[in-house]
């Protein structure tokens, strides 16, 4: 077999991903406004969180209403370790991600054995506790004032704080996560997750370690969220507790739902819509944004349970490969 014959099927199979990656990485050549580049960069960090949540909700059928807390752990971990102990930003990012993953494990092991709404409430409570601690532990977090002067990321002496460089590194990481999520869905892990999602007891009796799989994906989603938080603070150089209220967790969940549950591409479309829709709505009144989001969640659940991706489009081929009834993907049994 020639090299070309081997490459062509590969390209065809991953056409959607490759097209998306090329377009995203080429964007800084066409967009020169720092403002829009920044929004694009935040879109990358948001995508990291939403991807994890999309896997948790779509593949394992578990809901988290406290993901803002994991973003907060990454953001504050990076901020504190770099400003107070002058640690290298990459090392700080790694330590924070480990911490977020460990906490997710401790939180997930008991709650994921219970029914769906228990994890939702446990994570909601956890998110609230983290928020309270961020405000109260003034000696560590500076309370409501927040932490300023967080350094930029750098690599081998290169400053990655400028919009273009940051765009490439943030989207680079987001694309790696997207690829990981796409691979995971098509792997043994993804299949066992979907099996436990549809019929947990049947999956267990066929040898899927259901509790372990659920905790595993919860930990992965927490690590994704933490890394996103770290990237975020190294770009805006400032962090305060205001960013991590319940509303943020709910908006993350909305993003997953609007994009489409049970389809990794849903995370991409949802994130793009949720990052750019407020830019448009801002022209009217920013306060209406959350109202729109709340109503959208209800309307989508009733009329379009498969989310934006189920509307069809460019990536329909990628979608059709593992497609089931839309609402059934969201529910167990």
């Amino acid at each position: 077999m020639t090299a070309v014959a081997r490459v062509v099927p590969y390209l065809r199979r991953h056409a959607a991903f490759i097209t998306f990656a090329v377009v995203v990485m080429a964007l800084p050549f066409f967009i020169h406004s720092t403002y829009y580049l920044s929004i694009l960069a935040f879109t990358a960090t948001r995508l990291m969180v939403v991807l994890g949540l999309n896997l948790l909700l779509g593949q394992a059928g578990q809901i988290s209403l406290g993901h803002a807390a994991f973003v907060a752990i990454g953001a504050y971990g990076s901020a504190i370790l770099t400003t107070r102990w002058s640690l290298d930003p990459w090392l700080a990012m790694g330590i924070s991600a480990l911490l977020a993953g460990a906490i997710a494990g401790v939180l997930g092991i008991p709650t994921l054995k219970l029914k769906g709404h228990y994890l939702a409430m446990a994570t909601l409570g956890f998110g609230e506790i983290v928020l309270i601690l961020l405000i109260q532990f003034k000696w560590l977090t500076s309370g409501s004032d927040g932490i300023v002067g967080i350094p930029s990321l750098s690599f081998a002496g290169l400053d990655l704080g400028r919009p273009m460089a940051y765009h490439w590194i943030a989207w680079g990481v987001a694309l790696v996560m997207l690829r990981m999520a796409l691979n995971l869905v098509d792997s043994r892990v993804g299949r066992s997750l979907r099996a436990l999602h549809r019929a947990e007891i049947a999956a267990a009796s066929l040898g899927v370690n259901t509790s372990f799989r659920k905790v595993q994906i919860f930990v992965v989603s927490a690590v994704f969220a933490s890394v996103a938080g770290s990237f975020y603070v190294h770009y805006i150089h400032f962090i305060s507790p205001d960013s991590f209220a319940i509303t943020f967790s709910v908006i993350l969940l909305t993003t997953v739902v609007i994009g489409g549950v049970g389809n990794v591409w849903g995370a991409v479309w949802g994130t793009l819509l949720m990052m750019f829709l407020p830019e448009y709505l801002k022209r009217f009144n920013q306060d209406y944004t959350n109202l729109t989001f709340g109503i959208l969640m209800i309307v989508i659940m009733i009329f379009l349970p498969g989310g934006l991706v189920s509307l069809g489009g460019v990536f329909s081929r990628a979608r059709n490969r593992s497609r089931g009834p839309d609402r059934a993907r969201l529910e167990e049994g």
Binding site: L57, G61, I63, L65, L107, P110, T111, L114, K115, G116, H117, Y118, A120, M121, A122, L124, G125, F126, E128, I129, I132, L133, I135, Q136, I201, I246, T247, V250, L253, T254, V257, V261, D287, Y288, N290, L291, F293, G294, I295, L296, M297, I298, M301, I302, P305, R327, L330, E331, E332, G333
Partner: protein, 296 residues
């Protein structure tokens, strides 16, 4: 800590605890009828308080304003059920959680647009001359809160045990299919549960508004604590919900009193969630719940 201080904390705990108890009752009503956890429950509490505040401001006499607010919020609960829950009654847990979470975000933002960002006051029902009890003081409003909670618990018991409609609701919570075969209208039971649940939550909001101000964002925390109370008392158990709410309120208040930390009141809200997580870890069926087996 002296006895009067201790009592003071207990009284304040009972006041807040009653509101958690009412919110928890609201959760229980809906959960028993539909297996849904209504994440918008706290927003009904907030809407109750704020509606009463507006009615009062427009010159409606205070007691009428309070009753009016309860009716308005019950209607909102009914509309919510018809518009968002009914189409998804058989859709499954995740869909229902997402819909009620969406509703809570929408209601909270709508309240902010209507009433603004500031928390608003409501005058107490019968003055604010404190009553002296063993060196501690009770506000008359506290008695109203307690009395109303007791009255609602008794009325609910009578409704469930003595009336035909109440028996129909109980039948549905045991086995909706069998109840339907016996001629009970399941959809009407669900509608009734949402209306009642919203009314009870609103009562809590109306009663607590004079004690602690009511703002658009007050509902989220109350809702969460109400749910913590449910879990503490055993999800689905009305008596457990009320007991859970009172225990939670008292524990919360005593924590503020006993914790030897400066500004410990900032940690007050964390108590409920620590208890929530602890119960989920150690005894997820709640203090008064029994272990159940799930049939395949």
């Amino acid at each position: 800590m002296s006895l009067d201080q201790f009592l003071q904390y207990v009284f304040s705990g009972i006041t807040n605890g009653s509101i958690y108890a009412l919110t928890a009752l609201g959760f229980t009503l809906i959960y028993n009828a539909t297996d849904i956890i209504n994440f918008a429950q706290g927003e009904f509490v907030m809407l109750g308080g704020l509606t009463a505040i507006s009615l009062y401001k427009w010159g409606v006499p205070l007691p009428v304003a309070c009753l009016g607010a309860v009716v308005v919020v019950a209607l909102i609960g009914v509309i919510f059920e018809l518009a968002a829950i009914r189409p998804l009654l058989s859709a499954g847990i995740m869909t229902q959680i997402i819909v009620t979470v969406g509703a809570s975000l929408a209601l909270r933002t709508a309240a902010m647009l209507i009433w603004g960002r500031e928390a608003l006051p409501l005058p107490p029902l019968t003055g604010d001359t404190p009553i002296d009890v063993l060196g501690a003081t009770i506000l008359p409003q506290t008695l109203w809160v307690l009395g109303a909670t007791l009255a609602i618990v008794v009325a609910l018991q009578l409704f469930y045990k003595r009336t035909l409609t109440g028996k129909a609701v109980r039948a549905c919570s045991v086995n909706p299919t069998a109840a339907r075969l016996m001629g009970v209208s399941y959809s009407r039971v669900v509608l009734l549960s949402f209306g009642l649940s919203a009314a009870i939550a609103a009562t809590g909001g109306v009663l607590i508004a004079p004690v602690s101000f009511m703002g658009y964002s007050s509902g989220a925390l109350i809702g969460l604590k109400g749910f913590a109370a449910c879990i503490l008392g055993g999800l689905g158990n009305p008596a457990g919900a009320v007991a859970g709410g009172l225990i939670l309120g008292i524990l919360e208040s005593l924590t503020v009193g006993f914790l030897p930390i400066q500004g410990s009141s900032g940690y007050k809200d964390a108590v409920a969630f620590l208890i929530l997580l602890l119960v989920l870890f150690v005894k997820p069926q709640g203090l008064f719940g029994q272990r159940t087996m799930e049939k395949v």
